[in-house]
């Protein structure tokens, strides 16, 4: 573990170099996890069929909700672990490790039991039809049976990062992608197991890496290792974990809510295939969004440190460079999607009706992507400099506050296109709001700097 809490290079090294150094690993990790999400769609689209893709898209909100419950435990656990390890308090660290496992066991199994009992009504509510229900049900049953492993794997991966092993955590992510892809090919194309095969591949990939994690954390010579006595839940730890985890939980739950509204609107206006088209568009969009999130993660320590150290020209520089990189990525996505939408969609399906729907959806959804990079970086910038309220507001403005009313109103007038158009409208408004907030912030900085200079002169 690093001894120095704040590396001095953050205040001196060239911004471009720092940004590369901090952002590249984050971008790789983010891309790996979005590839993991894409894999199933590709194999189901080609190996099972277009309707199966719609069935899969209906499962997204339920998977979001499962992830929300996972982050409820995981985020809190890793924050508490980082605090304890920062004080070399390995004893409590081990208790936290044990409690994360214990709590994940309870939450993971409880979630599965409840959702398995009410699976059909839940899936209908999430946008299933008579035709797509059986696909969604088959996929989700396997995933829910394996849910406790998913939670455990995600939770331990977070702890691995907090324990100062970000590389191991990244390799774990990359291996799940590879195992998942390999098993998908075998189960869906080789054994013809259909959508169930794809779900099994996903679960097995996580189980394999979970076994590896358990082996890693069972080594009694490693400063963190699993002890039976630590599994008993400590009330105070659990309360702390859940309070820290509640914020990411609600963010994830909001994402779940939005996808439900999208699926329902698409089902109403465009039928099952429109829902499947969203599944494709969502996966492609996610790939670019995640790269920008990687840039954001790299920017955070640099902007935060320099802002704290009052090195304002460097703060401005890292903000500008991050916006530039994010915009380059998003413009590339935009150009690619507008010029070759058929090629992009062909990765997922060959069904001509689905291709046509997805191409329209893709083109409309990406209209404002050239300015989405700016919006996302700005939101993260506020977070980096300690203004979390503004950061959350900006993040919600694009993903909830403006999007939700659009999704509720526009489809009644414009049909399926109303759903697709909700995204660029929301993106545009959110980017304008972000621009205004950023402009105001910099004006305030200037006023403060002027005041400080005046004070210095008066002394």
């Amino acid at each position: 573990m690093n001894n120095k809490t704040t590396p001095a290079e953050l205040g001196t090294e060239s911004i471009g170099k720092l940004l590369r150094q901090y952002a590249l690993p984050a971008i790789i990790a983010m891309t790996a996890s979005s590839l993991y999400n894409i894999t199933d769609s590709i194999f189901i689209g080609h190996g099972v069929g277009a309707l199966a893709l719609s069935g899969l898209a209906i499962c997204f909100p339920l998977m979001n909700l499962a992830a929300a419950f996972g982050s409820l435990v995981g985020a809190g656990g890793s924050t508490l672990l980082s605090i304890r390890l920062g004080q070399q308090d390995y004893e409590t660290g081990n208790v936290i490790l044990g409690n994360v496992i214990g709590l994940n066991l309870i939450v993971g199994i409880a979630f599965s039991v409840i959702t398995l009992i009410f699976l059909d009504p839940i899936l209908y509510f999430f946008g299933a039809s008579e035709e797509t229900l059986s696909y969604a049900r088959q996929y989700m049953r396997v995933l829910l049976v394996g849910n406790v492993f998913t939670h455990m794997y995600m939770g331990l991966n977070n702890l691995l990062r907090s324990a100062g092993e970000p590389k191991k955590s990244m390799y774990a992510t990359i291996f799940t992608v590879l195992i998942n892809a390999g098993l998908n090919a075998l189960f869906v194309f080789g054994f013809k197991w259909g959508i169930k095969g794809s779900a099994s591949a996903t679960v097995i990939a996580q189980v394999v890496m979970l076994v590896w994690q358990f082996k890693f954390f069972s080594n009694p010579r490693y400063f963190l290792h699993i002890k039976r006595s630590a599994l008993r839940l400590r009330r105070k730890l659990v309360v702390d974990m859940l309070s820290i985890g509640s914020a990411p939980f609600f963010m994830n739950a909001a994402a779940c809510l939005i996808v439900i509204v999208i699926n329902q609107a698409l089902l109403r206006t465009g039928g099952d295939l429109a829902v499947g088209a969203y599944g494709i568009v969502n996966r492609i969009a996610f790939l670019f969004i995640m790269i920008v999130m990687g840039i954001n993660q790299g920017m955070q320590p640099i902007a935060g440190y320099n802002f704290g150290a009052r090195l304002y020209p460097r703060v401005t520089e890292v903000l500008k460079k991050s916006i530039l990189f994010a915009t380059v990525v998003m413009v590339a996505g935009f150009v690619f999607v507008q010029l070759f939408p058929h090629a992009v969609v062909a990765i997922f399906t060959t069904d001509t009706d689905l291709v046509d729907l997805s191409v329209i959806g893709l083109r409309l959804t990406f209209i404002m992507y050239p300015i989405v990079g700016f919006q996302m970086v700005t939101s993260n910038f506020f977070q980096s400099i300690g203004m979390a309220g503004k950061a959350i507001f900006l993040s919600l403005s694009r993903q909830l506050i403006i999007l939700l009313p659009c999704l509720l109103i526009l489809p009644s007038f414009m049909g399926v296109n109303g759903v697709w158009m909700s995204f660029p409208i929301s993106d545009f408004c959110a980017a304008v709001i972000a621009g205004v907030l950023l402009w105001k912030q910099f004006r305030q900085f200037k006023v403060e700097a002027g005041k400080r200079n005046a004070e210095m002169a008066n002394r």
């Binding site: 704040t6 001095a8 605090i83 977070n158 914020a247 955070q300």
Partner: protein, 213 residues
């Protein structure tokens, strides 16, 4: 590692700071309270105002903390954010350990008892006082404070300190089991309490190290 340390936790208005200063002077120990903030600021290069804002506050409460979600909901490692309360706490605790390595010290607040829990010659004290005395003390300190506001302020400050301590240490603020000795300064008065703690420190053998030098 061979230095003597006295850590003082205290209720707001209990006279803990005064007691800490007096005992430090008597033992010729270095005394650290708010100075830790400037030291942490100088050492890390980060502005003092960030440490002041995070001083003896925990991160999550419904208003300040819930919206104060510091991390991406994807990444959850606060060390990626240099202005999070947890990072600032880590910087401050590094400083406390550095100071304890250099000389004999008295630390007031800031979870120093937990941070220095593995140091051999440490005495951990918690100081309370009767409500009337605490109220009188903070009314003297602040001119524009009214009587009924004082009580409110005592309660709020202690609640904040308790939240901070319990969050970062996993122990319970003000509970006897968290310290070596808990004492109500109203019983012996400030100077009487200083005498008492001085004697305790000498008798406990923790003071022997000092004489060896």
């Amino acid at each position: 590692m061979e230095h003597c340390i006295i850590n003082i936790g205290r209720q707001y208005g209990s006279g803990g700071r005064e007691i800490g200063e007096k005992i430090a002077r008597r033992l010729h120990f270095a005394y650290y309270d708010k100075e830790l903030i400037s030291l942490a600021s100088k050492e890390s290069g980060l502005g003092k105002e960030f440490f002041e804002a995070a001083d003896e506050k925990k991160t999550y409460s419904l208003t300040g903390g819930w919206l104060g979600l510091r991390n991406n909901f994807i990444s959850s490692n606060f060390l990626e954010n240099y202005l999070s309360n947890e990072t600032l706490f880590k910087i401050q605790s590094d400083i406390i350990r550095e100071l304890a390595d250099k000389q004999h010290c008295v630390f007031v607040g800031r979870c120093a008892d937990y941070i220095l829990r593995n140091y051999p010659h440490v005495l951990n004290v918690f100081i309370t006082a009767d409500l009337a005395d605490r109220k009188r003390r903070i009314l003297e300190r602040m001119d524009d404070l009214t009587e009924d506001k004082a009580e409110d302020m005592l309660e709020k400050t202690d609640k904040r300190r308790a939240g901070y301590y319990n969050y970062y240490t996993g122990k319970t603020w003000g509970a006897a089991a968290s310290y070596h000795v808990c004492i109500n300064s109203s019983v012996l008065g400030i100077d009487g309490t200083v005498d008492y703690l001085y004697n305790l420190f000498e008798k406990s053998g923790k003071g022997e190290v000092e004489r060896q030098k």
